[in-house]
Symmetry: C2
């Protein structure tokens, strides 16, 4: 219905699933067959194959056509593009972190007025 066929949308849609992200994490340790990938997920081979097809369409994995067991490999290139897209928003999440930091400083600056008597008590024993 809507045009979600652009490259970035395909990448994000492929990443929007915990099993597919786990498959990528597994492949980051080295090539694997469909059987290898199916084991930790307690999934049927067709179910895993379906996820692999989504990842392959998004070019996040490559499958060898030479070997009979057709090993899968990670291809991180689309993640670079997705990461580049996110970078433009970095200043916003860093700003919101700075605002939290400023707020904490305001809280800390307001605190001593109440905490002063206690601090004086603590100093008694020191030096």
């Amino acid at each position: 219905m809507r045009s979600s066929t652009d490259k970035l949308s395909t990448t994000f849609a492929a990443l929007a699933d915990p099993t597919r992200r786990a498959i990528l994490a597994r492949l980051s340790t080295g090539e694997a067959s469909v059987q290898d990938l199916a084991k930790p997920f307690k999934m049927t081979l067709p179910a895993v194959s379906k996820h692999l097809k989504v990842l392959e369409k998004a070019k996040l994995i490559r499958r060898s056509r030479s070997a009979q067991w057709r090993p899968c490999y990670l291809n991180a290139e689309p993640l670079r593009e997705a990461s580049d897209w996110m970078e433009q928003y970095r200043k916003f999440w860093e700003e919101s972190f700075d605002r939290l930091d400023e707020y904490l400083k305001v809280l800390q600056a307001a605190e001593p007025k109440k905490a002063e008597p206690k601090r004086k008590k603590k100093k008694k024993g020191s030096k």
Copy 2:
């Protein structure tokens, strides 16, 4: 059907649409009403509202409930988490870039053998 309700999956699913990413880009320049957001997309208000609901559910935007026109604001926090997740794959896309770089060096190293006669011709006039 599948458990796509975890936070990262919700974020990636919300980003897997060019209109929603364009809405975020618009909001990165400042708050906007639904009407403001609908204008550049030639979409109906209900269609835009549907996208806003997806973005709001993913906590990528916040909507003010105080003002009558309920302005939308960007909230980049979930993008920080998604970016952190991608960082673990940085070495892989950088490696593939390095491999391309190495391959280009190999090509360049192989080139002079063929190019040498031409270079000698060029040297005739120099010095």
